[in-house]
Symmetry: C2
Subunit: 148 residues, 2 copies
Amino acid sequence: MKNRNFFMQEGIREAKEAYERDSVPVGAVIIRSNKIISKAGNEVIKRHDPTAHAEILAIRHAASLIKSEFLDDCEIYVTLEPCAMCAQAISLARIKRLYFGAYDQKYGAIIHGSRIFEHAIHKPEVIGGVFESQCREILQDFFKTKRY
Amino acid sequence: MKNRNFFMQEGIREAKEAYERDSVPVGAVIIRSNKIISKAGNEVIKRHDPTAHAEILAIRHAASLIKSEFLDDCEIYVTLEPCAMCAQAISLARIKRLYFGAYDQKYGAIIHGSRIFEHAIHKPEVIGGVFESQCREILQDFFKTKRY
């Protein structure tokens, strides 16, 4: 039986791949019946697409795979607290549980900012801070090289 | 010189096409230099994609067209008050102005719910209620047939 450590490490691997292609290093993994059905890293720069966050790509792929816009029986692992766009996508897809790694005071919209799930019709269970320091360090490294 | 009436009517045409394919009738149009560069209707059902709202599809297409994730010099017309996902996508794409038609007390996130732009780093100018009753009636018709 695979556990949350394994799944978040897969998300971290996706984040590192995003780093390699010069994109903000965030990864997302979608789980159904204890199996990974979809995973993605941020591809905003590569695709010239402001919506190509890891979560959106992973959700789109999972939904197309199971031929339904509802992912009721799925969980999502993300290395960073989702922004409002991704949080609302998670709610629209009715994903049952969200695990995230690092906290994001600037764009995060789960426990920061617009706190999407306080207003959403579908509210997933949320577990934050999973492998927090590892997820945060990858981002800090990236932004150091960028001098953002 | 085309004006906002013309552009919103194009959005309404997209909404009607979404209606025909049994999707929630919302349309979006993106304008640059007074020309339509991208337009789309809701395709959630058709694509099995919870993120395939009209705004997201129109933004993705416009960004791929101009090969940039930033649509700074663009405006977006939407027939319905955007949800949190779409509002954040509009902010991430740095679209300069948002015109929307009908108000949405349930999912709207501009003047309702999570009020995304109050927390967003990029806040577009917002003009709501453009052809409000026409945009609302299409939606009311649709939901009447669905008995939602």
